[in-house]
Every structure is written in structure tokens, then in C-alpha cells.
Amino acid sequence: MNKYNLLTPNTCNWCPGCGNFGIWSALERAALQAGWDNSNTALVAGIGCHGHIVNFIKLTTFEGLHGRPIPVASGVKMANHKLNVFVLTGDGDCLSEGGNHFIHAARRNQNMTVIIHDNAIYGLTTGQTSPRSPRGFKSKSTPDGNIEEPIHPLRLALSAGATFLARVYSGDIQALADILIKANNHDGLAVIQVLQPCVTFNKEYTHIFYQENMYALDENYDPSDKAAAFAKTMEWGEKKIPVGIIYEAQEPSYESRMSQLKKQALVAGGAKKRDISALLKSYA
């Protein structure tokens, strides 16, 4: 298989320069390196610019309701826990509409990878303040400046119980591809915050902003140290945006604790059909 096998006939509709192109390229690269295809991998996206990715990559995909890709992916994983399951979600999709699902997926330590396309704005609806927009951020929805504090998704996920946390800049395609593979190999919930500039509507978190202000975690950094990971998630700002694997711990995943999944995937057992006509008649 080569990268052309993963192309669809659809032409991209992201803006030129969009950070989503890097995520798309990294996902293709990781799929080729790791052997992900339609038989072993499922992608579930939410609503937003990020969700268009399901139209451009030839893998099994599902685009759900706004904020709900995690519940759909949970269902996919429950039905066939042997699949590689990826959630593609925007910062608005994941942290606002889908915030509850995100917290509980982390608490359960479900064995899937959540990729947050973090552009710190609602881009598809042409530029409104999102849960990742910084305080003071001016947009169509906050013309006088955002009065709220942003959510930090890795800090939230860590406190809720996720066991693999990483942050990557979307333009660093090889680094993102490598982390996608490691996240998928991790047994438990992996969260990747991808710093993904919206070149049209977010003039603060630009490509050059990230390129100038992120730094790679030191070789001596220990990602198994939870307190150190918390400290890293507190860092944000000028020359203070750490990228790399921030936290990695070995804890039993949700699926590994389910006795029903010990023997085989649920889907392998087939669906049991029952005649419910008598039940329906009883309501007549």
C-alpha cells in the first residue's frame, strides 16, 4: 500500500495553509507505517472543519453529531475491541459540546486515541470563541474580548484518568505520525492535543506563534511522573509550550476489565435475533 491508496476522489475544502493538512498527512503516514487499513481501523469524527477529514482519507470512517464522536467510538470499540479506534474532534467539539464524554472516556481509560484538532476557535462557523480561546480573545462572539479562561485539555484528561497524553504541532508531520502510532499502541485512553492553526480566523495562535513558542520535552523528562506531567500541563505561553509525550502510565484499560471481551470480540458472536411480535401485540 502507498499513500495514493489512502486518497479518496474528494478534493479538500480546508483553507490553504490550514493546520488540518498536517494532521491528514501524519495520519496517512502513520497508517502506512503501522499497517492500518479498512479491515483493522475505524475513525470517528465530530462536527467542525476537522470532521471533513473523513471525506479525504480512505479508511473506515463515521462522522457523528456535534460533540459526540467519543460515544460513537466507544460503541465501535465495544463491538469490536480489536479495532484501532481513533476519535477526531475539534477543541469546540470535544471540550464544549462533548466535554462530558471526554471526561468519562478518560475516567474509564477506554482503549482508543482521541486526536484533538485544537485551533482554539470555531472555524467552520466562521470564527467564534471556543473553550480553547484565550482570555481577552476577540472574535465575532466576543467582540469586546473573551472574559472566560480556556480549558487545558491535557490537564483535564490527566485529572480525569487518561493514561497517555501528548501534544504536537500539526506542521511537525513525522513527530505527529510517530506519536499517533505510540498512542494507538498504548492500552488505555490516549489524548493527543494537536496545535492546529486556523489561518483564516485565529490570528493569535498562528503557525509562527507555535513554531517560536513550543519546545521539545527534555530527554531526561520522565513521562511516568504524574506530578511532573501536571506541572507540564500548567505551562503555556511565550517559549513555554511543551510538546512531546507528557504522560504515559500502564493502567488496565476499560476493555481489559470487561469479562465479556476476554474470549472474543462481541461482533464475532453475531447478533441474536428474537421474535418480539408478541411483545408488540401486547401494546396494541
Binding site: 479538500c12 480546508w14 495553509g17 498527512s25 500539526s170 506542521g171 508531520i173 503557525h207 509562527i208 513554531q211
Partner: protein, 154 residues
Amino acid sequence: MTKNILIVYASNSGSTFLVGEMIKNYLSKKYTVAMQTAAMTQPDDLEKYDIILLGSPSWHVLSRGDGFPQETMLAFMERCAGRSFPDKRFAAFGCGDSDYTLFCGAVFRLETFIGKLQGQKIMEPLKVDSYFFRPVEGDKQVEQWAGELMKKIS
């Protein structure tokens, strides 16, 4: 004769990186090729190579305007001010979008920069239009250009 090639690139969405990587893979069949970002490149680095390829997307740069090289490439160009490399051979490449004015304006500016360095221009630059929107055609164009470059330097 063995030739050492350096690719210095800047990239935002990743297209110029991918194009640079394709060029590197093609030329590596025959030559030793290094590739590094403009942000981490110092003018002295160029001294170690026979051939230097410069790549950048075209961008709207605040305080300058449309069609400029990406900011880290501009900073590299500024670091090279006053330097000359008359014995080095250069070529430029970049990604752009012909729906915008000044298509691949950065590549034009890179060529001007090569002139200021008194470098030897190997061939016409590579200008890739809308790489992510037409990846198959884009890759063919890159491969063709790399092939021509290979012939010119052989």
C-alpha cells in the same frame, strides 16, 4: 565527484516540508542529502555543502505583506546578510496557491536572495500549485523537477 546537498526549508501546513522530503528522497539515490529547517540553519552551515536548495511557502507576513517567505526563512535570510557564496550552487522551490496574488512570491524572493549571495543558479525554481488539493499532480511535478535537477548536477 561526490556532492553534498543541503535542503533548507520553512513550512507551515507541511506541504513545503513534504515537497522537500520528496526531493531529498529522490536525490539520495545518488547523493548525500541533508535537510533542516531554516530556523535551525546558520549561514556557516552552508559552507559544508556543494549544493543548497532553499524552500519556502508564500505567506502573508505581518508588517511586510503578501507573497513573502515564511517568517523563519526571512530570519535566516537576514542572518545571511553580508555573506557571499560564489562557489555554491543553488536552486529554489516552494508551494503556493495560484488563486492568490503573487503566486509563489516567496520563490521569487528566494531567487533574489540567491543572487545577493552571489550563488550559482542551477535551474529554474520549482513552484508547486495547491499541493494538498492536487497531491498526485503535485508529486509528479516534484519528481520531474528533482529528475531534471539530478541531470543538471550530475
